[in-house]
């Protein structure tokens, strides 16, 4: 009698893991990455060394030899840049919440699946639903920098361009996530309201939506944090946010200033992150 060897099966998760690792190998081959390139060139070394060294000593005043008269102190300018970053992010999120919330509600399957019967009558809903999802998908797959590129060509360098450039993809993301959260919310309370004579819409608003609202709020706040980052990098295109000053200082080789701006961004995001955690503790049961 032979002993049975224990069989080893790779479950679905295992396969996913393996394919992930295999793609990583493929990727490194395709990119033709040379590990030696990880070591900076001559010039790169000096930049790297000097830059990294300044990490522990960020500038508190300007590093330029000559500072034009009447310029605000560095820290004031940094705070002002942070304020603009925050302002643009807040304005963009307000747009994205309104538009994304509306689209998200419309894009949930709650409305028509289950109520409207018959292929003929469902058809317009299905078409509208599909169209909406495509619109949302297009909105969210184009990066805000690319939206900015498109909008700059048309609307110029006003801050409104930055706000809209962030608002469009964020509307798409919020719409998608909100619609998913609504579809996944527990329906038990909604069913009970249905059973006591509420209309479908009422059962939704008072039974289903409140169940999804805490998660929707948490995600929206997370998106606000991301909006801060998006707002910061729009500075690379010339908008008056932190990214602009990072590039300006870096190109002038004022590495200390660069770290100052980076730390300001870090503090801004850490604060919002902490705020988000506090709210979540109090609101999500």
């Amino acid at each position: 009698m032979t002993a049975k060897t224990p069989s080893f099966s790779i479950g679905p998760r295992g396969w996913v893991l393996l394919s992930l690792l295999a793609s990583a190998v493929w990727a490194s081959v395709t990119l033709d990455l040379d590990v030696r390139r990880l070591v900076p060139t001559e010039g790169g070394w000096s930049v790297a060394a000097e830059f990294l060294a300044r990490a522990v000593s960020p500038a508190l005043t300007y590093e330029a030899a000559v500072v034009p008269a009447g310029t605000q102190p560095l820290l004031v300018k940094a705070t002002e840049a942070a304020r603009m970053t925050l302002a643009i992010a807040a304005a963009a999120m307000s747009l994205a919440l309104v538009a994304g919330g509306t689209l998200g509600l419309c894009a949930s399957t709650f409305w028509w699946r289950g109520t409207v019967r018959g292929v003929r009558r469902r058809f317009p809903f299905v078409v509208a639903y599909a169209g909406l999802r495509i619109l949302i998908a297009v909105m969210r797959s184009v990066h805000e920098l690319f939206w900015a590129v498109l909008l700059l060509a048309v609307f110029g360098l006003g801050n409104l361009t930055a706000v809209v450039a962030i608002a469009i993809p964020y509307t798409g993301v919020l719409a998608k996530v909100f619609s998913e959260l609504i579809d996944e919310a527990p329906r038990d309370a909604g069913d009970a309201l249905d059973g006591l004579g509420a209309s479908r819409f009422q059962a939704f608003i008072f039974g289903v939506l409140p169940r999804a609202l805490p998660d929707m709020g948490a995600y929206a706040f997370y998106r606000f944090e991301c909006a801060l980052r998006s707002s910061a990098i729009l500075g690379f295109f010339g908008f008056p946010t932190l990214g602009y000053y990072v590039t300006a200082s870096f190109e002038n080789l004022h590495y200390g200033e660069v770290w100052s701006y980076l730390y300001v961004l870090f503090v801004l995001i850490a604060l919002v992150d902490w705020w988000s955690g506090q709210l979540r503790r109090r609101l999500v049961a």
Binding site: W26, A27, V47, A90, R229
Partner: protein, 316 residues
């Protein structure tokens, strides 16, 4: 109690007083109310003091720009002429072959490598970022209560790692890439490392939360039989968090692709590079087409990621 209490005015009055008192004493969170107010203030501040000029949109000059821009989106060989599918097809194929396809592949490769590296980085840091295992006494008390120094030390390790992860996360990928290009030159490495660095921060924090929320009985048992931190981690913790982490990994991969498309604008040869190139030459038709291609691969990644997540969920 009377049969119809509503006819009894005194009872109603009592009830109204009761309601008022209960309303005043109701449990409410000061913090939440102040937060709501602050958020509203930030929004108002953004629109009013954020340098946003709404009249910009309304000037007739702008709408002329829009019209002009829209006409420039037509493929170059077709501008000013009637639409011809074969010419359009030719133009598309050439763009695809020369620029779009190789750049798209590069972009995807960058995103994949970056997310895998980020996962490795996150797994390394997760153990020192999770309070449960980085503590002076992970999971079970030791023979003696830990001294002040040990407690400060482990607290410091957790705080320090978490701060580091937050810093990685706070700096946008674009800025990391910008800095790395300056140091390493415009190869693919800055893009990969920038994405990996940022996402180590993201995945590290998510992973640390998962570790902290793990159910402890099995881990306590491992500690009880004398396991060291590393042993507990290898046998108990990592296998337990891998499923959740994989879900996060795929969720972040979508974002990675999106970011990878724009990193090209810094000089790395991904889609962003050709987009910036087209923009600087005012070839808006090419630029628009390439942006669409970028959107397409993001959507592709979205679909693949969704499939992977569904496949993994079936195992649960």
């Amino acid at each position: 109690m009377s049969a119809n209490p509503f006819r009894d005015a005194r009872v109603t009055d009592d009830r109204e007083t009761l309601i008022r008192r209960l309303w005043q004493d109701r449990p409410r969170s000061r913090f939440v109310h102040w937060s709501g107010g602050l958020l509203l203030a930030l929004v108002v501040h953004g629109w009013m003091l954020g340098g946003v000029n709404l009249s910009d949109v309304l000037s007739p000059q702008r709408w002329q720009n829009v019209e002009r821009f829209l006409t420039e989106l037509r493929p170059f060989p077709l501008q000013g002429r009637a639409w011809d599918w074969s010419v359009a097809g030719q133009w598309t194929l050439e763009l695809l072959r020369e620029k779009a396809w190789p750049a798209a592949v590069t972009t995807l490769a960058i995103s994949v490598l970056a997310i895998v590296l980020a996962t490795l980085g996150a797994l390394l840091l997760v153990l020192s970022a999770a309070r449960t295992i980085a503590d002076a006494e992970p999971y079970l008390p030791g023979p003696r209560p830990p001294g002040l120094i040990r407690r400060l030390g482990s607290g410091g390790v957790v705080a320090g790692t978490r701060a580091l992860l937050t810093f990685f996360r706070a700096v946008p990928e674009y800025i990391w890439a910008f800095l790395l290009v300056a140091m390493l030159g415009p190869t693919a490495w800055p893009a990969v490392l920038a994405l990996a660095l940022h996402n180590t921060g993201v995945l590290g924090k998510l992973g640390a939360d998962v570790v902290e929320n793990l159910e402890t009985p099995a881990l306590e048992a491992l500690r009880g039989v004398g396991g060291s931190r590393l042993q507990i981690a290898g046998v108990g913790i990592l296998p337990a968090i891998v499923p959740r982490m994989l879900l996060f990994v795929f969720y972040r991969w979508e974002t990675c692709i999106r970011e990878a498309t724009v990193l090209g604008m810094l000089g790395i040869v991904s889609l962003g590079y050709w987009i910036e190139d087209a923009r600087s030459r005012n070839h808006y038709d090419e630029m628009f087409f390439l942006i669409l291609v970028g959107a397409l691969i993001v959507l592709l990644g979205d679909v693949l990621s969704e499939i992977a997540r569904r496949v993994m969920r079936t195992q649960q």
